[in-house]
Amino acid sequence: MSIEFIPDTSSVLALDIGSVNTRAILFFQTDDQFRFIAQGVSSTTLTAPLNNISLGIIQAITSLQTTTGAVLLDEKSHLIMPGQPDGAGVDQLVITFSAGVPIRIVTLGLLRDVSLKTANKVVSSVSGVIVKDISLNDTSSFSNQLDQIQNAQPDLLLVAGGIEDGALKPMQELTLLLKALVMVLPKDKVPEIIYAGNSSLAVMIKESLKDSVELHVVPNIRPEIEMENLAPARKKLAEIITGIRIEQWAGLSALSSICAIPPAPVSVAYGRILEFLGKSHDPSKGVLGVDLGANSTIFAASNGIHHDLRVYPHGMGEGLAGWLKDVNPEEVLDWMPQDAHWTELLDYFHQKMIFPASIPANRSILEYEQAAARAILRRDMFHFLQEWGLENIAFEPIMVSGAVFSNTISPWQTLLMVLDGLQPVGISTIILDQHGLTGSLGAMAEINPLIPVQILESSAYIPLATVVCPFSEEMFGTKILKGVLEYEDGNYNRFEIAQGNLLQIPLSQGHKANLQFEPLRRVMVDPVIPSYGFKVIGGQCGLVIDARGRPIHIPRDAKARIPLLKKWLATG
């Protein structure tokens, strides 16, 4: 693909440094309209022997240059900034990252179910690992708590506790603990500390720790017993993680100095876009975004008022380790459309952890990975919905990204993985972010909020289907709904749906139609919209009715399971 570069236009280069791949993504503005142009991909060169992200970035940009014909690097492989009159270079640069050994975080709070819970929630917005969480009200002694923190070898401490105007004494004990910690640790191992507790104590803590540690004070994350204030602490946490990465990674410091905004953890940028989408969509339903990466999985949702962002340490590469720790083999084998033994899958997953960049080279391996993806999504969705805390769990739209979704045989295979893994309810549009742009858009929103608006509406995001997931407790095979789909050209498609069935109805991508149901039994089409008539838009897989029930029941016996899974795969 070669593009024509028009002078006097604006361009943005987004770099995303992932644990496996580094991507260079080019956006271009013509006639006030931003467009996604292309992306170049290279292996991330953070690890030994290179230990410098620059080479991976140069390779990714070089690949982008080859694809587009754009000139972005000069003869010394330096990024040309700002854009030149002849079209060379880019005007702005943003960076997101998810690579690197997870930051080790210890959370300290007063009460386990109050401030500590909130502190852990703050940490779950980034791909850090809580190596220890300590409640001062636990029974362990002062010295034992000190040992626990020391042994956890944290990079960062998040300290919370005490509501505003609450009692100070218990929190003063915490000050002593921090002071002792700074004394027992070697200077180069003293972690940075975020204090997000009762603000009356902030000065005292700062005073007692003096210059021995960098203390970052943010507003109380639990100012009242029933109120959380997560945003400032999350922002500070992201800033500190960026700072740690700049110190750890050769090459990032120089690049960050020419960035339009400081580099950001990809999860934070991803969450920002979902918050934005939540404000512009139907507030009665939330929007949901899921990014299944190599190291971790991001879940973000928003209904305009209530936002949540979680990073689970489960992924399709090294993130398999976290997931395998407590996986039940049946969670995976249930989704295998072939007769497979758990030992074979386990061997494959451990090999994949060693070589996370490897690509499924044949069908059976692809099925291993897709079964794992379903199981990871299933488990993380379950936890996310519990943490989401709202009664309404119907989302519109649902946006997914990750190599496991993009590297499939067909859009139907991708869609089925999403339906099996997330098991949405009601009516949703499933959108595939096939290039994994969402995180970068979140970063770009900081410099120009128009960019994400325009890109999200572009063809870079593929609507896979409008899916209808009715809920009924009728027996398998019982007809529960009659439906008619009225196309724009006046044609009709009539159909019946039996409990347990999965049905694909042709509806061209982007075409609108009226969908009318007639219930034959007790059935709820959508938990939020009390109606049987809907306007729907077609996706790559048309319109899909998923009446398989929630949760989807899979027979344990391979003789029954395999034909059923194959039938579902052949539906689209």
């Binding site: 292996s43 030994a48 060693i354 080279a361 391996i365």
Partner: protein
């Protein structure tokens, strides 16, 4: 231009490896000193446990100021069990003694913080070679010449011993019956292992080390508890040793070898590896090369896992793989003339 890292299976090379301690400590070797794999290079104290002593309470003194005046130690003092920390000056003395060996960390407001039970960490050489450089208080750089075979997984142990590889069928499973008493104290070259009993038999003999092509992932917890190093050259499953490594290792049968079965730390670059020290001086080789035709490669994932081939052609543009996924790939040929189409991510370049 596609740069790729190199996995080494070399008959002779010169290598330098950093050996580092987790905390500052004392290095006990000197530059140019010859060391064996099991030699200690340095020691450091690992963080111990902490004890908080309420001195006011122990001394029966209410005033913190008075209490502080009775303390006979200061931060940083080393204490032996029973040493006096503080005592009253009354007729009937109350004495606070050190409950065990340790260090005074802090004394504040009548509270004393002690660090006790520090364990000593010993940094082992891991390689037979010469100390090339001392990194003061932290570690050393060892230099050695010899054959080098890098693996993909290790059980975090280091060992040295005589390699026993004769009469091994490279396709035969390693089991209890593979072992006999003549192998006691040897490093055994096996193929693949799927039985826990085989590992237990190896520890009972005992072996000094075990080199395998692969192992069932279910055996990881058992392998981690084995007292000898276990290194996997291919990974997990039932995969025999690749021919290149097999030929090189069997050439050195009955020779003393070192196994550093560390876990693969991709950030630091520490990788499980086998070194066969040789008297001839080798040359250092590149760790990164540009992907090119005629390079020897080693397949790291199914379905060709463990096979060695030579790149015949690189296809930089994405094309359809048997999985129906599109990706750039190389066309490679095995020793027996079999053609493999491999995505760029599914092999390592050997060198």
């Amino acid at each position: 231009m596609t740069l790729t890292t190199v996995t080494h299976t070399l008959p002779l090379t010169l290598l330098r490896r950093n050996r580092m301690m987790p905390y500052s400590g004392r290095i006990v070797v000197h530059e140019s000193q010859h060391v064996k794999a099991t030699d200690t290079l340095g020691t450091c104290l690992l963080p111990g446990k902490h004890l908080q002593i309420d001195l006011c309470d122990e001394l029966g003194v209410k005033s913190v100021n008075k209490c502080m005046g009775l303390v006979e130690r200061k931060p940083g003092d080393a204490l032996t069990k029973g040493d006096v920390i503080a005592q009253t000056r009354s007729m009937v003395k109350r004495i606070v003694r050190a409950p065990s060996d340790g260090f005074v960390i802090a004394i504040n407001n009548g509270m004393l913080l002690l660090e006790v039970e520090n364990e000593t960490f010993e940094l082992k050489a891991g390689y037979t070679g010469i100390i090339h450089e001392i990194l003061p208080e932290l570690g050393v750089v060892i230099e050695t010449s010899g054959a080098l075979i890098q693996g993909v997984w290790g059980n975090n142990r280091i060992g040295q011993g005589i390699l026993a590889s004769s009469n091994q069928n490279p396709m035969l499973e390693f089991s209890r019956s593979s072992l006999d008493v003549s192998m006691r104290g040897c490093i055994w070259l096996g193929t693949y292992c799927v039985q826990e009993d085989a590992l237990i038999a190896a520890s009972e003999l005992p072996l000094r080390g075990l080199i395998l092509g692969s192992m069932s992932a279910e055996l990881i917890p058992v392998a981690m508890h084995m007292p000898f190093p276990i290194i996997l050259l291919e990974g997990f499953g039932m995969i025999a040793l690749n021919q290149m490594a097999y030929k090189l290792l069997t050439t050195h049968d009955k020779r003393e070898i070192c196994i550093n079965a560390s876990s693969w730390d991709k950030t630091k670059g520490d990788r499980p590896e086998i070194i066969i020290p040789l008297p001839t001086e080798g040359k250092a080789t590149d760790d990164v090369v540009e992907l090119a035709d005629d390079q020897t490669i080693h397949v790291t994932t199914m379905p060709y896992i463990g096979k060695i081939g030579v790149i015949k052609r690189i296809h930089p543009a994405s094309d359809l793989l048997p999985s129906q996924i599109r990706a750039p790939f190389v066309e490679a040929q095995t020793e027996v003339g079999e053609t493999m189409n491999l995505p760029l991510q599914n092999f390592e370049v050997m060198g």
